[in-house]
């Protein structure tokens, strides 16, 4: 099957969360959730990055523009970055981006920025559960508004 055909199979599954996960902490944490068979919704589309410092606010905004229902960016806790400083830069960018998103009225359920360590599989699963819950609630509310 072509890439497009595979993509088309998953096309309709909503909501879609695009997640930028840093390789050393958050991606490992997500992996831990998986290997620990923790139950969390299968709405995630993961993009692995070497460090949360690699994440350009452009990626977040681009993912939303391309139709992601929500975007998650997750990295190592400040102080624990595999590259020592990358997540400190990410923190500045992401906290500023939060302000821009809020100011321009982008609904809060469409974005979330987190620190999740490699041992925090449980916490990772919980973050995704919360995001999907919020997305489903927002979807329901919008549907009701049309009634």
């Amino acid at each position: 099957m072509t890439v497009e055909a595979v993509q088309a199979q998953h096309e309709d599954k909503r909501p879609k969360i695009v997640a930028f996960l840093c390789n050393w902490c958050s991606y490992a944490g997500a992996d831990l959730a998986g290997s620990g068979r923790m139950d969390y919704p299968a709405n995630l589309r993961v993009i692995r990055v070497p460090c949360s410092g690699r994440v350009d606010p452009l990626f977040v905004l681009k993912a939303l523009e391309q139709g992601a229902d929500a975007v998650l960016v997750s990295g190592c806790h400040p102080g624990d970055c595999h590259y020592a400083k990358g997540n400190y830069y990410a923190r500045r960018r992401l906290t500023a981006l939060l302000e821009l998103l809020e100011f321009t009225g982008v609904p809060p359920h469409k974005y979330r920025f987190e620190w999740v360590s490699a041992s925090e599989g449980k916490e990772f699963a919980q973050v995704i559960r919360e995001m999907v819950e919020a997305l489903n609630a927002a979807e329901q509310k919008a549907a009701m508004a049309h009634v």
Partner: protein, 328 residues
């Protein structure tokens, strides 16, 4: 020593700089041959210096012309606010200090040329002279004199001028106010007005705003701090921003540009004035300047030895919601 009319000194200085070869060009203001409004000009010969002007209609931020491929060294006629843009360019190593000869011009505010239409007695085509007369600017047009007030008719960004003294200069001409005028800031008021809207209303406000954008890029091209040789909006490998105005491309362009300018925009308002469809572009730029100042204690271009705010960090930076003790 007070210098109520610095223009002759400005012309002499520009002539001298060109005659002596200290600079390859002088970027200043000239009276437009058709309308008489001051417009940017790049002069390269000493005899062209006579055409330079400076008056309270000189709104343009001429540091824009020091970007990139411009012939250096270059002299720039700069108001105090304009020098801030030069400072940011130097902090980011886009230009070197020795590339620019800064002719700082004393300014007590720029008046909004759009008001000339209201104040002239009849439709005007040409400005013959511009005189400062106490607290007013007398604009002599071919349809009568339009008087504009140096308090009531200022450009929004001049009302609460935060930096009336140049941050860098090689020569100072004219009189510089000692301190900010202490008036309420219309730009901050606009941000507050938007923040007071509910989230849905804010979303509608920005959606409708960006829907009207025609992607002419006047905002970007007039901005002194947009100097990337290849703007992300023009990149095709990958195509970050759809060129279509029908989807989310307009908003993506403006939001990313706002992030690129966060902590760098000096609030000159050139973008908003350049926009042919009247988008309120200063709102997000003002907000992001407030955010960067509030969270990181950084104001663009006010101190030569500052570091770009997103190139540094502190342990005590505000943290993400739900984490750390810092407020975000």
């Amino acid at each position: 020593m007070s210098d109520p009319d610095p223009v002759p000194t400005l012309r002499a200085k520009a002539r001298e700089l060109l005659e002596q070869g200290t600079v390859r060009a002088v970027v200043g203001y000239q009276s437009h041959a058709e309308s008489g409004l001051p417009v940017p000009a790049v002069i390269t010969r000493p005899d062209q210096a006579e055409a330079l002007v400076f008056n309270p209609l000189c709104a343009h931020n001429l540091s824009r012309y020091v970007q990139g491929g411009a012939e250096k060294p270059v002299a720039v006629v700069a108001k105090a606010c304009d020098t801030r843009a030069l400072v940011v360019m130097m902090q980011e190593s886009h230009i070197r200090r020795e590339d620019v000869f800064v002719i700082a011009m004393g300014c007590t505010g720029i008046v909004d040329a759009a008001r000339i239409d209201e104040r002239a007695r009849a439709p005007w085509r040409r400005i013959e002279a511009i005189r400062t007369d106490g607290d007013a600017v007398a604009v002599e047009t071919d349809a009568g004199v339009a008087r504009l007030s140096l308090t009531e008719d200022l450009l929004p960004r001049c009302v609460a001028c935060p930096v009336p003294q140049p941050v860098i200069d090689d020569v100072r001409l004219g009189d510089f106010p000692e301190a900010p005028p202490g008036r309420p800031d219309p730009l901050a008021a606009q941000v507050a007005e938007i923040e007071a809207m509910g989230r849905d209303e804010r979303r509608r406000f920005f959606s409708e705003t960006y829907n009207r954008c025609i992607r002419c890029y006047a905002c970007r091209n007039v901005c002194p701090l947009c100097f990337c040789e290849k703007c992300f909006a023009d990149e095709t490998r990958p195509q970050w921003v759809p060129r279509s105005t029908l989807g989310g491309g307009n908003e993506l362009y403006h939001m990313v540009r706002a992030m690129h300018l966060a902590g760098r925009c000096i609030g000159c308002g050139a973008c908003e004035r350049a926009c042919p469809v009247g988008l309120p572009l200063m709102a997000v730029n003002t907000k992001m300047a407030q955010v960067v100042d509030g969270m990181f204690g950084h104001v663009a271009g006010v101190r030569m030895d500052d570091t770009p705010p997103f190139a540094v960090y502190r342990d005590a930076d505000p943290d993400l919601p739900g984490h750390g003790g810092g407020k975000s």
